[in-house]
């Protein structure tokens, strides 16, 4: 079985489309899910998954089968998503709207009853105002509770850098909320 998987990876690296399709079928859900965690927009996540797999195909010569496909694909997917977020950040984006929808959709029973819908909404919007790098790290490490090691590999930074970004994100978020009169 392991030999079969390794054959597929080698064939993919040599440009075999069937091997690429096999890898796509095996990993598309994980890649889509990863992108969706960052964008929170299913339509955008579908488009970005296609873009990510295209870039994966383009970069196949640089792929090292010994290091595994999943982490490599996740890293490319993260880069594609970051490029997309950078491209859309100048306007009020669907991403911000989806943050808002998300905050509004949380039933009060799910959280602390003292945390009102208004506070959740303000928190989501303040989170959307954070610098992109900090927001992505906090999204993956805090909201999605992904291991720091996985987040670090996907972002191409060290585990320590992930921790620093998460801390800075939380500190800035707290400051923003305090300025709005909300004390978490």
């Amino acid at each position: 079985m392991k030999n079969g998987a390794s054959d597929v990876l080698n064939q993919f690296q040599q440009g075999d489309v069937d091997a690429f399709e096999a890898l796509f079928r095996r990993h598309q859900r994980a890649v889509y899910g990863w992108i969706l965690r960052i964008t929170r927009d299913p339509a955008a996540a579908e488009e970005l998954t296609v873009e990510a797999f295209w870039r994966i195909h383009q970069a196949r010569a640089r792929f090292d089968p010994a290091r595994g496909f999943e982490g490599w694909a996740r890293r490319i997917a993260t880069r594609v998503t970051l490029d997309w977020l950078r491209a859309i950040r100048t306007r009020r984006t669907k991403y911000e709207l989806s943050l808002e929808d998300c905050a509004e959709a949380v039933a009060p029973a799910q959280g602390d009853p003292a945390v009102t819908a208004e506070i959740r909404l303000k928190t989501a919007l303040a989170f959307g105002r954070l610098p992109l790098k900090l927001r992505i790290a906090a999204t993956l490490a805090v909201i999605e509770e992904q291991p720091h090691k996985v987040v670090a590999a996907a972002l191409g930074i060290s585990v320590a850098a992930v921790k620093v970004r998460v801390f800075r994100a939380l500190r800035l978020l707290r400051k923003d909320l305090e300025e709005q009169g909300i004390t978490p």
């Binding site: 899910g33 797999f53 959740r120 939380l170 978490p184």
Partner: protein, 84 residues
């Protein structure tokens, strides 16, 4: 911000933005789109007569710059020859 504040902020953030469901799947088969994307990039790359431009435009630009320089300042020719 101390450890307690950090925990509170994490808790508040998770309440405001709950995690995406891990079993999320695309709403359609994306493979045809990936194939279309691959075909489009292959077609663009294999346009007849333009491949050389993609590969050698920088070399061409350098050469054109050099020729222009030499045409304007012929006295620079010995300097170039010296550095060759």
């Amino acid at each position: 911000m101390n450890e307690h504040d950090e925990k509170q902020m994490k808790k508040l953030l998770r309440q405001a933005l709950p995690p995406v469901k891990s079993e999320a799947e695309p709403g359609r088969d994306l493979w045809p789109d990936v194939l279309r994307r691959l075909d489009a990039s292959t077609t663009t790359r294999s346009l007849p007569g333009w491949g050389w431009l993609n590969s050698y435009w920088f070399d061409g630009a350098l050469l054109a710059g050099l020729v222009t320089l030499v045409a304007i300042f012929p006295a620079a020719i010995p300097v170039f020859l010296y550095y060759l």
